[in-house]
């Protein structure tokens, strides 16, 4: 008993008091900023392993970016990754950062379906579906609910059954072999329901985008409510993204 109390005491305060303003340690690669400097744009475009960079003007698509940072290493005057982890949006095109753009990425409140705030504002239960995910996003989604990030303080939880869920969170590029289970899981969730894509693999296929072993037809059939970039998504990116969708921040 005393041992247990001692252990608890020794942990100190682990939880992050405000997950919307917390600073990430070190050199986190979050929202990139592209300067107006002149560089060899073709060389820059060539570097990117997932064709996330395009030129004229230079743009980075965070839905394709694996955040490897190679472009910033090769062209430090042109590209800089900031530690801004709030990079989720409900508009796919808002994930594209254009030269000179230093504005934060936002969730557009006008495009959020009305029922989302009304029904899920107080409690949101999510069923996660790993569709050929590499277990890194899954890992970070689990971390979102550890004692530090503690996403359940906002009434946001992962549940075991799609029948108990208000929506699904998809990770991974969606393999052919997972296409049907994903579809069935989605249909098992009662209406109204939301779809969140977590991680670069889910949003664009990432490094696997041109693999013939994928079947991403699910994504063209249904409305995607939130895109959360990252490879993997940082727990703070996930939490802030979902909170914006629920209009809690």
């Amino acid at each position: 008993m005393f041992d247990n109390l001692k252990i608890m005491w020794h942990q100190g305060k682990q939880f992050i008091p405000d997950v919307t303003t917390a600073k990430v340690p070190g050199i986190f690669r979050g929202r990139p900023v592209i300067s107006n400097k002149n560089v060899d744009e073709t060389a820059l475009e060539e570097i990117c392993p997932t064709h996330a960079i395009s030129k004229g003007p230079v743009r980075i698509d965070l839905g394709k970016c694996t955040f490897c940072g190679e472009c910033a290493i090769q062209f430090p005057n042109k590209i800089r990754f900031t530690s801004d982890y709030k990079i989720s949006s409900n508009e796919r095109e808002k994930l594209i950062i254009i030269e000179g753009d230093e504005n934060p990425i936002l969730v557009n409140p006008d495009l959020i379906r009305k029922e989302i705030h009304r029904l899920f504002g107080g409690s949101l239960k999510l069923r996660q579906v790993s569709a050929a995910g590499d277990n890194s996003c899954e890992w970070e989604l689990n971390a979102s609910n550890n004692v530090q990030f503690d996403v359940s303080r906002f009434g946001i939880d992962f549940v075991a059954s799609p029948r108990h869920a208000d929506g699904i969170v998809i990770t991974g590029p969606i393999s052919e072999n997972m296409a049907e289970p994903l579809e069935r899981c989605y249909h098992a969730v009662p209406d109204p329901k939301i779809i969140i894509l977590a991680g670069t693999d889910a949003i664009s296929g990432g490094i696997f985008a041109d693999s013939p072993a994928l079947d991403r037809s699910f994504l063209s059939k249904y409305h995607i409510d939130l895109y959360i970039p990252g490879n993997p998504v940082h727990p703070l990116t996930f939490i802030n993204g979902v909170l914006s969708l629920l209009r809690k921040i």
């Binding site: 252990i7 942990q11 090769q74 996660q128 890194s136 689990n142 590029p173 393999s175 997972m178 899981c185």
Partner: protein, 500 residues
């Protein structure tokens, strides 16, 4: 000689691998493996060569620190006798060859689809029609779980045959995570694309798989990594081991409903992964390991910082560990649960923790050392002898301590780091290379073959889970089905690493 003997991370000309008729090839490899636990098959794979299939088999000898490589060429439609009928170590390898190339085996005891790969020979085989083992009985019942599981984890299907609460048999069906990685290695031509692929084979083993890739690539290109690169890889491997083992202990606590342990181990993982972020900008070390360079040089400041992280981690880790490993209610759930005997793991050919849990010494850091193992770090594998959940938890406890010691030792001598520069690495022509790395799960093996132009022609990845899933299936037999989660967590195997 019937085979060529090479070392870890050695490249040889493809034509130097002896090629024999299938019977001779089979007899050689079966004889090499017979009755010697120090020898195990690290890779056995095929590829299309003209209208035939070339098979390459790599047997590692842990005592001699060598790998014996031999090959054969077989016709597509022919029926062959299987290795598996004589040695079960080859079971998965032959299933893979059968699935990918349609090679028929006359006496393979378990010739079922392995992962329903996109490029499989028989497209009529569908993942929804997997032929599960069945028992006709009025007393027994089946329990199907998955592919989507109750937690935030990867997909796979588990089919239990139970007598009441007791598991008689478990069959694990995988393949849902198949993304065609080996094909993509060939399809993509740039080094960074391939490195990114390696990082995404299994996100929880980013350092392990990427190290295997870069070591292999550098070997193919005849590039010798300097001390700073070897230092980074070794340190990152040990930190990855620490982070995941800590998380696994949290997961084991969760499955026996020990909330305090779950919270404390769970939160102790954070400083280690955050340290990766401080070093390389990513909590899972994506972007850190690169062939021929490192974009995030290690520094004295990072060394000091790591020292602080470890010094803060250690007392809290030891405190909860002392409590957890003496708690009667925890011990009663772990001891004698999910036991796999020495005979079973030897027969299956498990690797890593799933071998060391019961007296089978398999640890690449010790047997086929790479990077700074064998020089700065002289590794002693941690071996347990009960093969139960408790043994697997104990291995994690002790390996965390060991990794901490290694990390501390490494940072006492931080080598000088160069600025990352760009240069082209060109692989040799008509080469074969093999790379073994001890990831936190166990032995990772990557093999590559280049063609006459020096282009990558074959890339073969083997995650330790390839061997170890069968050990989990054996572990749960005669256990209650309610103990399945803790057995599963105590192995913590990779779905994506298996499915590729």
């Amino acid at each position: 000689m019937n085979y060529i003997s090479i070392h870890n991370n050695q490249s040889i000309a493809l034509k130097d691998i002896p090629e024999h008729a299938y019977t001779m090839f089979m007899e050689t490899n079966i004889a090499l493996m017979k009755g010697n636990p120090a020898r195990h098959c690290v890779n056995y794979f095929g590829y299309s060569a003209a209208d035939k299939i070339k098979l390459i088999c790599c047997i590692a000898d842990d005592d001699l620190h060598e790998i014996f490589v031999s090959s054969t060429v077989v016709d597509k439609g022919y029926q062959l006798p299987s290795f598996t009928a004589k040695n079960h170590n080859f079971e998965k390898f032959e299933r893979e060859i059968h699935e990918n190339f349609g090679v028929k085996y006359s006496d393979h005891p378990w010739l079922k689809p392995m992962r329903y790969a996109h490029n499989r020979a028989d497209k009529n085989e569908k993942i929804e029609n997997y032929p599960f083992y069945q028992v006709e009985s009025e007393e027994l019942h089946e329990v199907g779980v998955g592919p989507i599981h109750a937690g935030v984890i990867e997909p796979g299907h588990f089919r239990f045959i139970c007598n009441g609460e007791q598991i008689m048999h478990l069959e694990i069906q995988l393949g849902y995570q198949h993304r065609g990685i080996e094909q993509l290695f060939i399809q993509k031509k740039k080094l960074l694309e391939r490195t990114t692929l390696a990082e995404n084979i299994a996100g929880d083993t980013t350092v392990g798989h990427t190290t295997a890739f870069v070591n292999l690539w550098e070997s193919l290109c005849g590039y010798t990594p300097d001390r700073s690169l070897q230092f980074s890889r070794t340190l990152a491997l040990e930190l990855e081991r620490m982070a995941i083992h800590t998380g696994d202990l949290a997961a084991i606590c969760a499955d026996i409903a020990y909330q305090l342990g779950n919270s404390v181990y769970g939160r102790l993982r954070t400083p280690i992964v955050n340290y990766f972020q401080e070093w390389g900008g990513n909590r899972l070390a994506k972007g850190l390991i690169r062939a021929g360079k490192i974009n995030y040089p290690f520094s004295e400041e990072l060394a000091t910082r790591l020292n602080t992280v470890l010094n803060t981690y250690e007392p809290d880790f030891e405190e909860i560990t002392k409590k957890f490993f003496k708690l009667p209610s925890a011990l009663s759930r772990m001891e004698k649960t999910g036991v796999v005997s020495y005979e079973q793991i030897y027969e299956i050919g498990t690797v890593g923790m799933a071998a060391r849990m019961n007296g089978l010494c398999r640890d690449i850091r010790f047997s086929h050392p790479h990077d700074m193992y064998g020089s700065s770090i002289v590794h002693t594998p941690i071996i347990k002898h009960h093969g139960d959940v408790y043994s697997r938890a104990q291995i994690r406890r002790e390996e965390i301590r060991q990794s901490m010691t290694y990390a501390r030792k490494l940072i006492t001598e931080v080598p000088e780091f160069k600025k990352p520069e760009n240069f082209t690495l060109n692989p040799g022509k008509g080469m074969f290379a093999i790379s073994l790395v001890e990831g936190w799960r166990g032995e990772i093996c990557h093999c590559a073959i280049t063609d006459q132009e020096g282009d990558l022609m074959v890339y073969k990845v083997k995650d330790p889970s390839h061997h170890n899933w069968m050990a989990l299936a054996q572990a749960v037999r005669s256990n209650e089905i309610s103990d399945f989660p803790i057995c599963n967590k105590s192995f913590n195997l990779s779905y994506c690493g298996h499915d590729l």
